[in-house]
Amino acid sequence: MTWFRLFRKPRSARVARDRLKSLLDYERALIGQRDLVSVLREEIIAVVSRHVSLSPDGIRVRTGHVETVPLLRIDVELPASVRG
């Protein structure tokens, strides 16, 4: 039947399946990353709060890229009373 299939267009359902699979792998990873950020944020607040009092708004956790290197950036704003 190979000769027969040679003249057929690829079946569109198969294209749909393959497109969905690769798209959803990507989207699930993105959403997973967003969850990672919120988990990290909460845990950092908990750890730092044991030593200094800080406002939850003073913490920013982000993921990003510099060129091709994925980065996690965490900024913690310390109260004025803490000296580095």
Binding site: R11, S12, A13, A16, R17, L24, E27, R28
Partner: protein
């Protein structure tokens, strides 16, 4: 024990309201007490599909805001004694629905009904989250089509993160209901198979509802598709799904194309492979 089940999909127009009405009626037919709750504030339609639109007096928002109590707002089905509707508001702002108000209503409904079916609005906004918030189980209605599958995947992620059960470290039972399935197009390779959809979304299959003229005909006359006589293929698929929900061990039937002798011969020769569950 009472079960709260959200009927959801992300995408609009895939058959959430049809499914809520059909499964609600099926459960009532086998003797369960059922309330179907319309969460689509501003765009209510469950009343229309159930043929109860002229008997709506109070709605969900009236109950949340204390202008009516629950028993005043519940509308009893004229044909099935154990089927009730809690309508959405058609005129109020959807922000009138509060988290605390919804929690209180669901708690009260749990006391009186075996099944509380929550018909979710489309989208992933507040209304959809409130509809799923208290669910023990979810029916994800999906058409075998790329945008519907993608949106279902998104909703599944939300069910695992935004429901009370998930927040408390538990899980909610998720069931895939594929609707508008066209066996002829699947055979021709023009439509995703049910295995493809179930495999991509990786949740168990509750039922496969074939594309059917009955769905429109039933909604035209204000009947759930499981209530029309004689019951058609879509109605039978919903009845089977409802029985599976109750824990009965019934096989999911894959709708088959009505074939002629010619197709059957070619089928035998391996040309038109048919999908199996």
């Amino acid at each position: 024990m009472s079960q709260v089940i959200v009927v959801t999909s992300g995408k609009g127009g895939v058959g959430k309201t049809t499914t809520t009405a059909a499964i609600g009626a099926s459960l009532a037919k086998i003797g369960k007490s059922v309330v179907v709750v319309d969460f689509d504030v501003g765009l209510r339609n469950l009343d229309l599909v159930l043929g109860a639109e002229r008997r709506v007096v109070f709605d969900l928002i009236n109950v949340v805001q204390g202008q009516a109590n629950l028993s005043q707002a519940l509308v009893k089905d004229k044909r099935l004694d154990t089927l009730w509707l809690l309508p959405a508001s058609q005129t109020r702002d959807k922000d009138a629905l509060t988290e605390g108000g919804v929690a209180k209503i669901i708690d009260e409904l749990r006391e009186s009904f075996d099944y509380v079916l929550c018909d979710s609005p489309a989208g992933i906004e507040r209304g959809a989250v409130l509809a799923m918030r208290h669910a023990d189980q979810a029916i994800i209605v999906t058409n075998p089509e790329v945008s519907s599958v993608r949106d279902s995947d998104r909703i599944i992620g939300m069910l695992d993160a935004r429901t009370i059960r998930a927040e408390q470290g538990g899980r909610i039972d998720k069931h895939l209901l594929i609707s508008r399935y066209d066996p002829a197009r699947v055979t021709r390779g023009e439509m995703l198979t049910t295995e493809d959809v179930a495999d991509i979304l990786s949740i168990p299959l509750l039922g496969i509802v074939p594309e059917s003229e009955d769905v429109l005909r039933a909604s035209n006359i204000g009947m759930p598709v499981t209530m029309i006589t004689p019951i058609g293929p879509a109605g039978i698929a919903y009845e089977t799904a409802a029985r599976r929900l109750t824990g009965e061990d019934v096989r999911v039937a894959v709708p088959e194309e009505r074939t002629g002798l010619f197709d059957r011969l070619f089928g035998e020769l391996g040309f038109g492979r048919r999908a199996a569950a």
